[in-house]
Structures are given as structure tokens and as C-alpha cells.
């Protein structure tokens, strides 16, 4: 089995900051907006290098989404930056009318998604944002897994013409994807070959899926891990090809099972190839304060939880 290692841990939001800084140097149409969270979103370098292309909006996210929509008129490519809950639920109608329905080329970049925001607790830990955003017609939804992938995705979405929701997180997590990867929107990446079970994971759960696959390998279970960075449009073909071989699937995400990746996968399976599926996701609940590790354990979002679901889903074959 192919194994993955890492030499350092970095936060995915720094990958966003690095990608944005590179875009600042390569694409004169890219502009950035922030609602009083420059440091948290790691936007400093872009701002230092391109002060005239940065818009500090203040604590006014609704206004930020509208201004971003307006900036596209005249050819700019706006990247908005704030926490995931302020990027989605707080401004849903602004995104719906002024960006999605108006076909505006805005990149909504959202940090601190999910439980791993940690100690700030449930007010800030959105677990519903993937669902909110994937329901908007025409919206692309991406959830990246490490620093390198987040940087590559940030750069790639500037070349895509249309609204995008890019979701990433707060804590330092293993860097295991290659630095020079090509990021293709909507194209799953097969990380391990396997024959007994498919594990489809997104965001921080991709590393946990690899850890689970490693453990399962020692128990004689061969797991195929797919890194699904794009939840919409979903790579139906990659999922169907994999389950044709394995006959069962576990989906893993730092999000409510309602509205998340797992439900999108279930639809693909129901329409094409009914297959036993287990969900690693939060169970229709808010989060709470705690360290990221404690929270991921309590809410069943780590490699142990994935391993248990794998054993269960194999028994259902």
C-alpha cells in the first residue's frame, strides 16, 4: 500500500495566504476583500505587495459580498476572506442574489470551518456551510485538505470563471500533498489503491482517512482512499469506478451529515449503483469549546471513527 508521510504541519489558511500572494504577482485582476480578519486569513503578504488591490471592509460581511459582486463589473476577480460561518450563513441572501443568481465571478474564501476552530465554540464552528453553498445553482464548492492543496486550489480558482466557495481551516495539520500538484476543479485524487472498501474524504478528514487506511492494512483490510477536494461538481465517475471494485464506501467530512459530502455521494450511488455507505460526519448537532483534537474525537471525526465505520460497512456488503 502506498503510504504518506509528512515532515511538517501547517494550517490550510496559510496555504490560502500563499496562493493569494502568488496571484497578486501573476494576475493583475485579482483583488482581495476582508471583514476585519486579515491576520486570521493570512492575507498580509498580498496586502503588503498590492495595497491598492485590497479592500478592508470592516465588520460588515453583507456589504463585503455586495462590494465583491460589484467589483466584478469592470473585470476584477474578487477574493473575499472571513471565517466560514460569516462567509455563508450570515450572508446567504447576499451571496444568493448578488453573486450566484447574478453570475458574478466572486471567490468566497472561508477559513476556520468546522469543529477544528476549537475553543471559540459553536457560535463560530459552522458545520452547515457545505450544504448551504452546494444548494446554490452554479456554485462550485471546494474543501481542501492541507497547505499545499489549499495553495494550489486558491491559484486554480482564479482561472475559473464563476462563483466558488473555497473552504479551509484553522489548525496546523500534516502537509502530505505534493507542492507542485496540478489542481483540477471537480477531479478526485486517488491516494491509495484498495479492494475492500472505498473511503471518500474531504478537508481535514483526508489525512485521517490515510491514517485509517494504514491501520486497516495491518488488519488485512485494503482501503482505497479518494481525496475529494471538490464537493460540487462531484467526481461521480471516480466514486463509481472505485465502488465497482470495493463494493462499499465510507464518506468522511468535518460537517453535518445533513447537506454534506456524504449526501452528495449517496445520491450518485442511489442513481447509478446502490452500495452500502457509512457516514463519518457530525450528527445534526452544534459543536462546543475544546481543543481541535478533543472535538474531533468526541464528535467521531478522526481515524478511529473512520476505521470503525469501515469495519461496519464491510459487514453490510
Amino acid at each position: 500500500m502506498k503510504t504518506y508521510t509528512y515532515t511538517e504541519k501547517k494550517d490550510t489558511r496559510s496555504g490560502f495566504g500563499a496562493g493569494l500572494a502568488e496571484l497578486g504577482r501573476t494576475n493583475p485582476n485579482v483583488v482581495a476583500l476582508c471583514a476585519d480578519l486579515i491576520g486570521s486569513l493570512k492575507m498580509n503578504q498580498f496586502i503588503d505587495e498590492n495595497p491598492e488591490r485590497f479592500f478592508q471592509i470592516g465588520i460588515a460581511e453583507a456589504n463585503m459580498m455586495g462590494i465583491a459582486a460589484g467589483l466584478t463589473i469592470g473585470g476584477k476577480i474578487p477574493f473575499t476572506g472571513t471565517f466560514a460561518n460569516f462567509s455563508t450563513g450570515r450572508v446567504y441572501d447576499q451571496i444568493r442574489q448578488s453573486i450566484a443568481y447574478s453570475d458574478k465571478n466572486v471567490k468566497i474564501c472561508a477559513s476556520h470551518a468546522g469543529l477544528t476552530l476549537g475553543e471559540d465554540g459553536a457560535t463560530h464552528q459552522i458545520l452547515e456551510d457545505i450544504g448551504l453553498m452546494k444548494m446554490l445553482p452554479g456554485m462550485v464548492v471546494i474543501n481542501t485538505c492541507d497547505y499545499n492543496q489549499t495553495k494550489a486550489a486558491t491559484i486554480a480558482i482564479a482561472d475559473y470563471n464563476g462563483p466558488v466557495y473555497l473552504r479551509f481551516g484553522r489548525p496546523a495539520v500534516p502537509v502530505f500533498m505534493p507542492e507542485d500538484q496540478e489542481f483540477k476543479i471537480g477531479k478526485a485524487i486517488k491516494l491509495t489503491q484498495g479492494s475492500d472498501v472505498t473511503i471518500v474524504a474531504t478537508g481535514h478528514l483526508v489525512w485521517e482517512a490515510l491514517e485509517a487506511a494504514k491501520l486497516l492494512h495491518t488488519k488485512g483490510v485494503s482501503a482505497e482512499v479518494l481525496n475529494i477536494h471538490t464537493i460540487k461538481p462531484l467526481d461521480d465517475q471516480a466514486i463509481l469506478e472505485s465502488v465497482s471494485k470495493t463494493g462499499c464506501i465510507v464518506t468522511a467530512e468535518e460537517h453535518n451529515f445533513l447537506g454534506g459530502l456524504g449526501e452528495s455521494v449517496a445520491r450518485v450511488l442511489a442513481l447509478n449503483k446502490p452500495t452500502p455507505q457509512e457516514f463519518v460526519a457530525t450528527n445534526d448537532t452544534f459543536g462546543e469549546s475544546g481543543t481541535p483534537t478533543q472535538l474531533m474525537e468526541k464528535y467521531g471525526l478522526n481515524s478511529d471513527a473512520i476505521t470503525k465505520k469501515v469495519i461496519k460497512v464491510i459487514s453490510r456488503k
Binding site: A60, G66, G70, I73, P78, Q97
Partner: protein
Amino acid sequence: MSNKKLQDLTTQVRRDILRMVHKVNSGHPGGSLGCTEFLVVLYLNIMNRTNDFNMDGVNEDLFFLSNGHISPVFYSVLARSGYFPVEELNTFRLLDSRLQGHPTTHEGLPGVRIASGSLGQGLSVALGAAESKKLNNDNSLIYTLHGDGELQEGQNWEAIMYASAKNIDNLIATIDLNGKQIDGATDDVLAMGSIKEKFEAFDWTVIEIENGNDISSIIDGMALAKDATGKGKPVCVLLKTMMGNGVDFMMHTHAWHGKAPNDDQLEIALNQNPETLGDY
């Protein structure tokens, strides 16, 4: 364009509005009729623009309608300004039409740059377009129109605060002060006090047009507003209008905010606004 021609066009646009909403027995004639003179003067007399619609609109003045429910007057003025054939007004609110109940870019109607209808979002979008013009070293202006009731939406005040803080001085935001909203007088629904003092407190330049249904007053007021741009401050025009203007039974009431006339009412209304440039 001469005032006589502007007046004739205004009367024709009024007929368009009435016929559009009557045909589909829905839509918003009250606010549309109240803003007819303003939009006619804005498009035919004030704005520097081309009829070849291009979304980016570089080097031309742009207009954003924030109170999208007055789509009948917007569509009529766009058509009569040359953006699309006036016959298309016949499709207002029908299935497969580009003239949706509220304006949208989604169906590709020339002249529309943003969807509006869910209130309070237009000023933010206009600010973004104004920032885009500044980045492009484009000296043309951004115009907007908002309902007075619409100012009850909080997003406006985020945008109003931003505009002065960031010296957005290439924008003229016009507020349709007709004092009415769906449930009644704005003072009864949610009194806003002095809108003039509120804008001034947010450090905007405020121009008042006392008779917002008089073509000369609008021309003079908008000239003052234009002179006030480029001086470091955003400009607000308070346009005092009569909802339902030009149709006697639709004036002095909020009843026609979102109600279409029946056959008899249409005939009376059209008789008060005789055909000038030809019906569509």
C-alpha cells in the same frame, strides 16, 4: 433631449408600465410611476452611456436599481433607451421571458448588471463597481436608486458607512422619498426620522430635489449632484416623489404598491396619459 421630448417619453413610459402590469395582473405600478420622470431624465439626459451593452461598462456611467420591484419602469426606460426592442415589454413576467418579475442578469437582458428584488443590496454592489472604476482609472460615474422603505434594511447602513470612510466620490445614490411602503406610510411602519440628517451624519453630501416628478427640477438637482462628485465624499440625492404619479386614483395612497389595475381602471389611467411615441 428637450424637456418636451422628455415629457412625451415620460407619458409613454407611464403607459408602458400600466399596460405591462395590467396584462399579467401583477407587478408594482405605484413606485414605478413615481420614479418615471427620474429614470427617463437619468437615462436620456444625465448618464454618459452607450446602447451597446457590455457587462463591464468601462468608460461609461452605470446605473444600479436596488429596489428591483419597480422593474416595470426600469424595463420600459431600458427599452425606450435602445437596449432591447420595446415589443419585448409584452413578455413582462411571462414564462421564458428575459423580463422577470424582478430584474436579473440571469436571462441576459441588456442593461441589467445585477439581480435585485431582495432589498438593501444595491448600494453595496454599486460601491464595488465604483471601486472597480477607480482601479481602472475610469472617471465615469455610478448611479443608484433605492426606495425609502428599503433603508430599513441594515446592509444599507454598512454600505453608507463604507462609502464615506473610503471616499467613494464617484457615486450618486438617489433615494426615492415617497414616504410609503407595502404596509403603509414609512412613518407608521418604522419611522426613520430625518433621512437627510442621517446621511449627513455619515458624512455624505446631500442634494434635495423637492419635486421629484418635475423634469426641470430633476435636471437641475442631478446637475448639482454631478458637480458634487470627485470631491472626496459620496453624494446622496433625496428625491421627493409621489407614488402612482400621473394616475389620479393611484396617487396619495400606498394601495397600488404591488397591485395591477383591472380593465376599467386601465382605461381611465391610459386616458390620463395619452399615447405620445407609440405603444409597444
